[in-house]
Protein backbone atom coordinates (compact mmCIF):
# COMPACT_ATOMS: atom_id res chain seq x y z
CA UNK A 1 0.00 0.00 0.00
CA UNK A 2 2.90 2.25 0.89
CA UNK A 3 4.56 1.63 -2.44
CA UNK A 4 1.43 2.56 -4.38
CA UNK A 5 1.08 5.88 -2.55
CA UNK A 6 4.67 6.70 -3.25
CA UNK A 7 4.51 6.00 -6.99
CA UNK A 8 1.24 7.89 -7.65
CA UNK A 9 2.77 11.41 -7.48
CA UNK A 10 5.66 10.27 -9.67
CA UNK A 11 3.38 8.73 -12.29
CA UNK A 12 1.16 11.81 -12.25
CA UNK A 13 4.19 14.03 -12.63
CA UNK A 14 5.34 11.86 -15.53
CA UNK A 15 2.04 12.32 -17.34
CA UNK A 16 2.19 16.06 -16.70
CA UNK A 17 5.68 16.30 -18.18
CA UNK A 18 4.67 14.25 -21.22
CA UNK A 19 1.58 16.36 -21.78
CA UNK A 20 3.45 19.67 -21.49
CA UNK A 21 6.31 18.41 -23.66
CA UNK A 22 4.00 17.44 -26.51
CA UNK A 23 2.07 20.67 -26.10
CA UNK A 24 5.26 22.63 -26.80
CA UNK A 25 5.12 21.60 -30.43
CA UNK A 26 1.45 22.51 -30.68
CA UNK A 27 1.98 25.93 -32.23
CA UNK A 28 -1.62 26.90 -32.62
CA UNK A 29 -1.66 30.59 -33.41
CA UNK A 30 -4.56 30.10 -35.78
CA UNK A 31 -7.72 31.38 -34.18
CA UNK A 32 -10.81 29.21 -34.62
CA UNK A 33 -13.31 31.18 -36.66
CA UNK A 34 -16.65 31.64 -34.99
CA UNK A 35 -18.25 32.40 -38.34
CA UNK A 36 -18.28 28.82 -39.56
CA UNK A 37 -21.74 27.90 -40.89
CA UNK A 38 -22.87 31.50 -40.71
CA UNK A 39 -23.80 33.91 -43.47
CA UNK A 40 -21.17 36.17 -44.94
CA UNK A 41 -21.52 39.57 -43.22
CA UNK A 42 -23.32 42.41 -44.98
CA UNK A 43 -21.19 45.20 -46.30
CA UNK A 44 -21.29 48.19 -48.61
CA UNK A 45 -17.94 49.00 -50.21
CA UNK A 46 -16.48 49.87 -53.57
CA UNK A 47 -14.49 47.48 -55.69
CA UNK A 48 -10.78 47.98 -56.03
CA UNK A 49 -11.09 48.24 -59.79
CA UNK A 50 -13.93 50.77 -59.85
CA UNK A 51 -14.25 53.44 -57.15
CA UNK A 52 -17.75 54.21 -58.41
CA UNK A 53 -19.09 50.69 -58.14
CA UNK A 54 -20.58 49.91 -54.76
CA UNK A 55 -21.13 46.25 -53.97
CA UNK A 56 -22.50 44.15 -51.15
CA UNK A 57 -22.71 40.55 -50.08
CA UNK A 58 -25.20 39.77 -52.84
CA UNK A 59 -22.46 40.47 -55.38
CA UNK A 60 -20.48 37.43 -54.27
CA UNK A 61 -22.01 35.00 -56.72
CA UNK A 62 -21.37 31.65 -58.42
CA UNK A 63 -20.79 29.77 -55.21
CA UNK A 64 -18.82 28.02 -53.85
CA UNK A 65 -16.19 30.72 -53.91
CA UNK A 66 -13.12 31.89 -52.06
CA UNK A 67 -12.71 35.28 -50.44
CA UNK A 68 -9.00 35.99 -50.10
CA UNK A 69 -7.78 38.73 -47.77
CA UNK A 70 -4.67 40.36 -49.26
CA UNK A 71 -2.63 43.57 -49.36
CA UNK A 72 0.49 44.93 -51.04
CA UNK A 73 2.18 45.28 -47.62
CA UNK A 74 1.65 41.56 -46.98
CA UNK A 75 4.72 39.54 -47.92
CA UNK A 76 3.19 36.11 -47.40
CA UNK A 77 0.49 37.10 -49.88
CA UNK A 78 3.15 37.15 -52.58
CA UNK A 79 4.09 33.60 -51.62
CA UNK A 80 0.55 32.28 -52.10
CA UNK A 81 -0.12 34.36 -55.22
CA UNK A 82 1.10 31.77 -57.76
CA UNK A 83 -1.20 29.14 -56.25
CA UNK A 84 -4.18 31.51 -56.46
CA UNK A 85 -3.29 32.13 -60.10
CA UNK A 86 -3.23 28.38 -60.77
CA UNK A 87 -6.68 27.99 -59.15
CA UNK A 88 -7.97 30.65 -61.51
CA UNK A 89 -6.21 29.37 -64.62
CA UNK A 90 -7.51 25.86 -64.03
CA UNK A 91 -11.01 27.16 -63.32
CA UNK A 92 -11.06 25.33 -60.00
CA UNK A 93 -13.06 27.89 -58.03
CA UNK A 94 -14.06 31.56 -58.18
CA UNK A 95 -11.89 33.82 -56.06
CA UNK A 96 -12.92 37.24 -54.79
CA UNK A 97 -10.26 39.45 -53.28
CA UNK A 98 -10.63 41.48 -50.10
CA UNK A 99 -8.03 44.21 -50.35
CA UNK A 100 -7.26 44.92 -46.71
CA UNK A 101 -6.22 48.38 -45.49
CA UNK A 102 -4.22 49.10 -48.62
CA UNK A 103 -3.49 51.84 -51.11
CA UNK A 104 -5.81 51.56 -54.12
CA UNK A 105 -3.09 52.68 -56.52
CA UNK A 106 -0.45 50.30 -55.20
CA UNK A 107 -2.92 47.43 -55.21
CA UNK A 108 -3.95 47.98 -58.81
CA UNK A 109 -0.32 48.23 -59.94
CA UNK A 110 0.55 45.02 -58.12
CA UNK A 111 -2.29 43.12 -59.75
CA UNK A 112 -1.23 44.40 -63.14
CA UNK A 113 2.37 43.38 -62.60
CA UNK A 114 1.85 40.04 -60.89
CA UNK A 115 -1.43 38.94 -62.38
CA UNK A 116 -4.99 39.14 -61.04
CA UNK A 117 -6.49 35.89 -59.73
CA UNK A 118 -9.65 37.65 -58.54
CA UNK A 119 -13.00 38.22 -60.24
CA UNK A 120 -12.73 41.57 -58.48
CA UNK A 121 -11.41 42.78 -55.17
CA UNK A 122 -13.49 44.41 -52.44
CA UNK A 123 -11.73 47.63 -51.43
CA UNK A 124 -11.78 47.50 -47.62
CA UNK A 125 -9.71 50.58 -46.85
CA UNK A 126 -10.57 50.81 -43.15
CA UNK A 127 -10.80 47.06 -42.54
CA UNK A 128 -14.45 47.24 -41.46
CA UNK A 129 -15.57 44.19 -43.42
CA UNK A 130 -12.43 42.37 -42.31
CA UNK A 131 -13.25 43.11 -38.68
CA UNK A 132 -16.76 41.73 -39.18
CA UNK A 133 -15.11 38.57 -40.50
CA UNK A 134 -12.81 38.26 -37.50
CA UNK A 135 -9.75 38.88 -39.66
CA UNK A 136 -6.61 39.79 -37.74
CA UNK A 137 -3.97 39.80 -40.47
CA UNK A 138 -3.19 38.84 -44.03
CA UNK A 139 -3.35 36.53 -45.85
CA UNK A 140 -6.54 34.82 -44.80
CA UNK A 141 -8.87 32.83 -47.01
CA UNK A 142 -12.54 32.09 -46.51
CA UNK A 143 -14.56 29.54 -48.43
CA UNK A 144 -18.22 30.36 -48.95
CA UNK A 145 -20.13 27.19 -49.64
CA UNK A 146 -22.75 26.54 -52.28
CA UNK A 147 -25.37 27.23 -49.58
CA UNK A 148 -23.99 30.72 -48.99
CA UNK A 149 -22.52 29.89 -45.59
CA UNK A 150 -18.90 30.33 -44.54
CA UNK A 151 -17.38 26.87 -44.43
CA UNK A 152 -13.68 27.40 -43.92
CA UNK A 153 -11.40 30.13 -42.63
CA UNK A 154 -7.68 29.64 -43.13
CA UNK A 155 -5.04 31.92 -41.62
CA UNK A 156 -1.77 32.08 -43.54
CA UNK A 157 -0.77 31.21 -47.07
CA UNK A 158 -3.09 29.05 -49.11
CA UNK A 159 -0.96 26.16 -50.38
CA UNK A 160 -1.75 22.97 -52.31
CA UNK A 161 -1.55 20.97 -49.07
CA UNK A 162 -3.90 23.31 -47.22
CA UNK A 163 -6.23 23.36 -50.20
CA UNK A 164 -6.38 19.58 -50.27
CA UNK A 165 -6.90 19.18 -46.53
CA UNK A 166 -9.28 22.01 -45.74
CA UNK A 167 -10.97 23.33 -48.87
CA UNK A 168 -11.21 20.77 -51.68
CA UNK A 169 -14.06 18.81 -50.11
CA UNK A 170 -16.42 21.76 -50.48
CA UNK A 171 -16.30 21.93 -54.25
CA UNK A 172 -19.53 21.04 -55.99
Amino acid sequence: MNKIIHTVPLVFFGFLVAFLFFSLGNKNDQLESVLIDQNFPNFSLTTLEDANRIIGKEDIVDLPALVNVWATWCITCKVEHPFLMSLKENSVINIYGLNYKDSRDKALITLEQDGNPFIYSIFDKTGSLAMDLGVYGAPETFLIGADGLIKVRHVGALTPVVWEKKFSMFLK
Binding site: N2, I5, V8, P9, D29, L31, E32, S33, V34, L35, K101, G127, M131, D132, L133, G134, V135, Y136, G137
Partner: protein, 141 residues
Protein backbone atom coordinates in the same frame (compact mmCIF):
# COMPACT_ATOMS: atom_id res chain seq x y z
CA UNK B 1 -6.72 53.41 0.16
CA UNK B 2 -6.31 50.46 -2.17
CA UNK B 3 -9.18 51.72 -4.30
CA UNK B 4 -7.44 55.06 -4.72
CA UNK B 5 -4.25 53.30 -5.71
CA UNK B 6 -6.00 51.20 -8.32
CA UNK B 7 -7.83 54.26 -9.65
CA UNK B 8 -4.49 56.04 -9.83
CA UNK B 9 -3.04 53.21 -11.91
CA UNK B 10 -5.91 53.30 -14.34
CA UNK B 11 -5.67 57.06 -14.77
CA UNK B 12 -1.94 57.59 -14.97
CA UNK B 13 -0.73 54.81 -17.24
CA UNK B 14 -3.04 55.78 -20.06
CA UNK B 15 -2.06 59.36 -20.83
CA UNK B 16 -1.13 58.25 -24.32
CA UNK B 17 -4.62 56.92 -24.88
CA UNK B 18 -6.12 60.28 -23.98
CA UNK B 19 -4.52 61.80 -27.05
CA UNK B 20 -5.70 59.20 -29.52
CA UNK B 21 -8.96 58.33 -27.75
CA UNK B 22 -10.24 61.54 -26.17
CA UNK B 23 -13.25 61.26 -23.93
CA UNK B 24 -15.36 64.09 -22.55
CA UNK B 25 -16.92 61.80 -19.99
CA UNK B 26 -14.40 60.62 -17.37
CA UNK B 27 -16.43 57.53 -16.52
CA UNK B 28 -16.25 56.43 -20.15
CA UNK B 29 -12.52 56.99 -20.17
CA UNK B 30 -12.08 54.76 -17.14
CA UNK B 31 -14.26 52.07 -18.76
CA UNK B 32 -12.15 52.24 -21.90
CA UNK B 33 -8.89 51.84 -20.01
CA UNK B 34 -10.26 48.84 -18.15
CA UNK B 35 -11.78 47.18 -21.21
CA UNK B 36 -8.64 47.35 -23.35
CA UNK B 37 -6.91 45.32 -20.68
CA UNK B 38 -9.66 42.70 -20.67
CA UNK B 39 -9.36 41.72 -24.30
CA UNK B 40 -6.60 39.71 -25.91
CA UNK B 41 -4.79 40.93 -29.00
CA UNK B 42 -5.74 38.31 -31.64
CA UNK B 43 -2.39 38.67 -33.36
CA UNK B 44 0.09 38.79 -30.45
CA UNK B 45 -1.91 36.38 -28.42
CA UNK B 46 -0.22 36.59 -25.04
CA UNK B 47 -0.80 40.33 -24.88
CA UNK B 48 -3.92 42.34 -24.19
CA UNK B 49 -5.10 45.16 -26.45
CA UNK B 50 -3.67 47.78 -24.11
CA UNK B 51 -0.19 46.35 -24.33
CA UNK B 52 -0.07 45.73 -28.07
CA UNK B 53 0.92 47.86 -31.06
CA UNK B 54 -0.24 45.36 -33.64
CA UNK B 55 -2.43 46.94 -36.33
CA UNK B 56 -5.42 44.79 -35.38
CA UNK B 57 -5.03 45.85 -31.74
CA UNK B 58 -5.14 49.50 -32.78
CA UNK B 59 -8.19 48.84 -34.94
CA UNK B 60 -9.98 47.07 -32.11
CA UNK B 61 -9.12 49.79 -29.61
CA UNK B 62 -10.56 52.34 -31.97
CA UNK B 63 -13.68 50.25 -32.39
CA UNK B 64 -14.12 49.92 -28.62
CA UNK B 65 -13.65 53.68 -28.32
CA UNK B 66 -16.36 54.28 -30.90
CA UNK B 67 -18.73 51.81 -29.26
CA UNK B 68 -18.30 53.41 -25.84
CA UNK B 69 -18.99 56.84 -27.31
CA UNK B 70 -22.12 55.39 -28.91
CA UNK B 71 -23.30 54.45 -25.44
CA UNK B 72 -22.82 50.70 -25.70
CA UNK B 73 -22.46 48.75 -22.47
CA UNK B 74 -19.48 46.58 -21.54
CA UNK B 75 -21.51 43.47 -22.27
CA UNK B 76 -22.54 44.76 -25.68
CA UNK B 77 -18.90 45.47 -26.51
CA UNK B 78 -17.86 42.01 -25.34
CA UNK B 79 -20.61 40.50 -27.50
CA UNK B 80 -19.44 42.51 -30.50
CA UNK B 81 -15.91 41.18 -30.12
CA UNK B 82 -16.73 37.56 -29.30
CA UNK B 83 -19.16 37.35 -32.23
CA UNK B 84 -16.25 38.11 -34.52
CA UNK B 85 -13.19 36.72 -32.76
CA UNK B 86 -14.63 34.11 -30.42
CA UNK B 87 -14.19 33.56 -26.69
CA UNK B 88 -10.45 33.53 -27.20
CA UNK B 89 -10.47 37.32 -27.31
CA UNK B 90 -11.48 37.41 -23.67
CA UNK B 91 -8.37 37.51 -21.55
CA UNK B 92 -10.26 35.77 -18.76
CA UNK B 93 -11.92 32.71 -20.27
CA UNK B 94 -15.63 32.32 -19.58
CA UNK B 95 -16.77 29.56 -17.27
CA UNK B 96 -18.51 26.83 -19.19
CA UNK B 97 -18.38 23.06 -19.60
CA UNK B 98 -15.22 23.28 -21.72
CA UNK B 99 -13.24 25.62 -19.52
CA UNK B 100 -14.40 24.31 -16.14
CA UNK B 101 -11.33 22.05 -15.98
CA UNK B 102 -9.14 25.09 -16.48
CA UNK B 103 -10.82 27.00 -13.66
CA UNK B 104 -11.35 24.22 -11.11
CA UNK B 105 -8.29 22.15 -11.99
CA UNK B 106 -5.73 23.99 -9.85
CA UNK B 107 -7.92 23.88 -6.74
CA UNK B 108 -8.65 20.22 -7.33
CA UNK B 109 -4.95 19.55 -7.72
CA UNK B 110 -4.26 21.44 -4.49
CA UNK B 111 -6.76 19.33 -2.56
CA UNK B 112 -5.29 16.10 -3.94
CA UNK B 113 -1.79 17.17 -3.01
CA UNK B 114 -2.83 18.25 0.51
CA UNK B 115 -4.53 14.88 0.95
CA UNK B 116 -1.43 12.97 -0.13
CA UNK B 117 0.78 15.12 2.09
CA UNK B 118 -1.44 14.51 5.11
CA UNK B 119 -1.33 10.76 4.42
CA UNK B 120 2.44 10.95 4.23
CA UNK B 121 2.70 12.88 7.49
CA UNK B 122 0.38 10.51 9.34
CA UNK B 123 2.41 7.55 8.08
CA UNK B 124 5.59 9.19 9.39
CA UNK B 125 3.94 9.72 12.78
CA UNK B 126 2.84 6.07 12.96
CA UNK B 127 6.32 4.91 12.08
CA UNK B 128 7.89 7.28 14.61
CA UNK B 129 5.59 6.09 17.43
CA UNK B 130 6.40 2.46 16.53
CA UNK B 131 10.06 3.28 16.93
CA UNK B 132 9.36 4.83 20.35
CA UNK B 133 7.43 1.74 21.47
CA UNK B 134 10.31 -0.55 20.52
CA UNK B 135 12.74 1.72 22.29
CA UNK B 136 10.69 1.71 25.50
CA UNK B 137 10.27 -2.04 25.27
CA UNK B 138 14.00 -2.68 25.20
CA UNK B 139 14.51 -0.36 28.16
CA UNK B 140 11.98 -2.30 30.17
CA UNK B 141 13.88 -5.47 29.43
Amino acid sequence: MILLGVAGLIITDNEENQEIYPFDDFKKEVRFNVLVKDYRCPKCQSSNLAGSNAPIAKDLKLEIYKLIKLGKSDQEITNFLTQRYGDFILYEPPFNSTTSILWIGPFFLLIVILFLVSLFISKKRKFASKKDNLHVKSKED
